[in-house]
Amino acid sequence: MIPGNKDTRDGLLFSIPFLTVYLLFMIYPLFHGLYISFFKWDILTKPSFIGLANYKTLFQDATFYSSLWHTIQFVLMTTPTLLVIGFLMALAITGSSPLKSVMENTFFFPYIFSMTVVSTLWAWLMQKDFGLFNQTLTLIGVRPISWLTNEKYAMWSIALTTLWWTSGFNMVLFGAGIKQIPKEVYESASIDGATYWQSVRHITIPLVSSTTILCLILQIIASFNVFGQVYVMTGGGPHGTTRVLVQYIFETGFRYYKMGYSAALSYILFLIILVISVLQYVLLGRKEES
């Protein structure tokens, strides 16, 4: 640290450009949104103050709970799988295969495509009658699967799509962590007779734990905010069984014109994400330090 009694002044000066934009386009609308949640407002007529009524309704709203549950389902389905697959991919690309560069590029490539492209592509792949998956299954004599039209499979299909789309990102993060581990550690383990998987379990995994935690936190935040790919692929169906909370927030505000209620819903989501992120950081972060 540069010693100096001008730290506070400098600190603030350096922060001002960002903070100005942040205050204008993030903080102000955020609080404005909170303000709106205490009103009944259909965006076109004058808002009417109703205090905490929106929040009261929220806690008795069955659709709120079902949407929240669907979001949680998505989080539970994608978080562990994305971490594990990302890690396994990272192992593959830091190993000794001559194909590792090809693998790195292939697995990462989907990440650069936009949500709309990925979702429409996979909705097409999984289309019940003419999609590639079912056409192939029919060809080999297997009954076609209703990937997106059967509630048992719909959310899993969306999770699969997300897996293809974003596991490359985790792969890169883990790959970097793995590359940090000095070769000598593996060599001495190998001399002691450890197998590959034992090395992975006892050396690799513990030593990339900080990366794991980072991935976990980012992953969970992103998964709680999921909306686009679900909306495009299933529209929240079949019969509302994949409707996630953000879709409900969107519909309440922009289809049913209940702006105040929509704002209240989004604040509750925000709080949930906040609490979980803080918990994660506190619990896992502390374990890290010890």
Binding site: F18, F25, V102, F109, I112, T116, F169
Partner: protein
């Protein structure tokens, strides 16, 4: 690691090749579909490759829409966003990393908290705000809300913390003041981290959909995500057209990736290490 037998090696290579193929298959399929005519797509006689490959879908995409203009809009908007995000993020990241000022921690967490906000909350207030400023239907409106990128600050801060303090102290002793140190020493050192930030910002802004949809009125001013969704909306289930459109919409990103591949991956990797 113990040496592997040849047959095991071959087995592994085969598995790897299968995975590589499986991973690329969706994209290959997207390209193949785009070359088919509709009746080869919705048909009972399934063929993998098109019997009569055609560029008609691409012709339609280019002639019936403003697709080139949309791509141009996206390029402008995303480029400006990535440059200005860096201008905003780097100084404050440096402050968090290297300047011990009062309230630093609280401010840091307040800034990071921004990452958790679901965008839906902000849409209506932002729209009303932009309307007051008279900025609705301008290209600026598309990227201004995206300029403040907390994850960028996080990445840069991680990197800056790794720069040894001695470098700064030496420069300080030589009489340089903070801003000069920041400009001349810190910034040049942080190139890979900065590359990550601008890439993330570019991708983020490029993929934005709901906000530009609401704030841009004229079809010709749409960025590509909205424009292409329009195109898809127009053509319902004409999958071959939709795939062609999707592919065209992704070309700039593909080019971007091919050229900056190493930097992108290196950048993400670097940020992850310190995390």
């Amino acid at each position: 690691m113990k040496a592997q037998s040849t047959s095991k090696k071959i087995l592994f290579r085969i598995i790897e090749l299968l995975f590589i193929f499986a991973w690329m298959l969706p994209l290959i399929w997207m390209a193949i579909t785009s070359l088919k005519l509709e009746h080869e797509v919705i048909t009972k006689t399934f063929t993998f490759l098109p019997k009569h490959p055609t560029l008609a879908n691409y012709t339609k995409a280019f002639t019936s829409t403003y697709i080139l203009r949309w791509l141009y809009n996206s390029v402008i908007v995303s480029t400006l966003a990535m440059v200005f995000t860096l201008v905003l993020d780097a100084p404050i990241a440096y402050a968090f990393a290297k300047i011990d000022f009062k309230g630093r921690n609280v401010l840091f967490w307040a800034v990071m908290g921004g990452m958790m906000v679901p965008f839906q909350v902000l849409i209506v207030p932002l729209y009303l705000q932009f309307n007051t400023y008279g900025l609705v239907n301008s290209l600026a409106a598309v990227y201004l809300p995206r300029l403040a990128l907390p994850i960028g600050i996080f990445i840069l801060k991680q990197f800056y913390e790794g720069i040894p303090g001695e470098l700064e102290e030496a420069a300080f002793i030589d009489g340089a003041h903070r801003f000069r140190i920041f400009l001349r020493i810190i910034l040049p050192l942080g190139q890979s981290a900065m590359a990550t930030v601008i890439i993330l910002s570019f991708i983020n802004t490029w993929n934005d959909f709901l906000w530009p949809l609401i704030v841009v009125n004229d079809t010709i001013k749409y960025p590509i995500t909205v424009g292409i969704a329009n195109f898809q909306g127009t053509h319902g289930t004409q999958y071959s057209l939709i795939m062609a459109g999707a592919l065209v919409a992704s070309v700039p990103q593909i080019i971007f990736y091919i050229f900056f591949r190493k930097k992108i991956i290196a950048g993400i990797a670097t940020s992850g290490i310190k995390g």
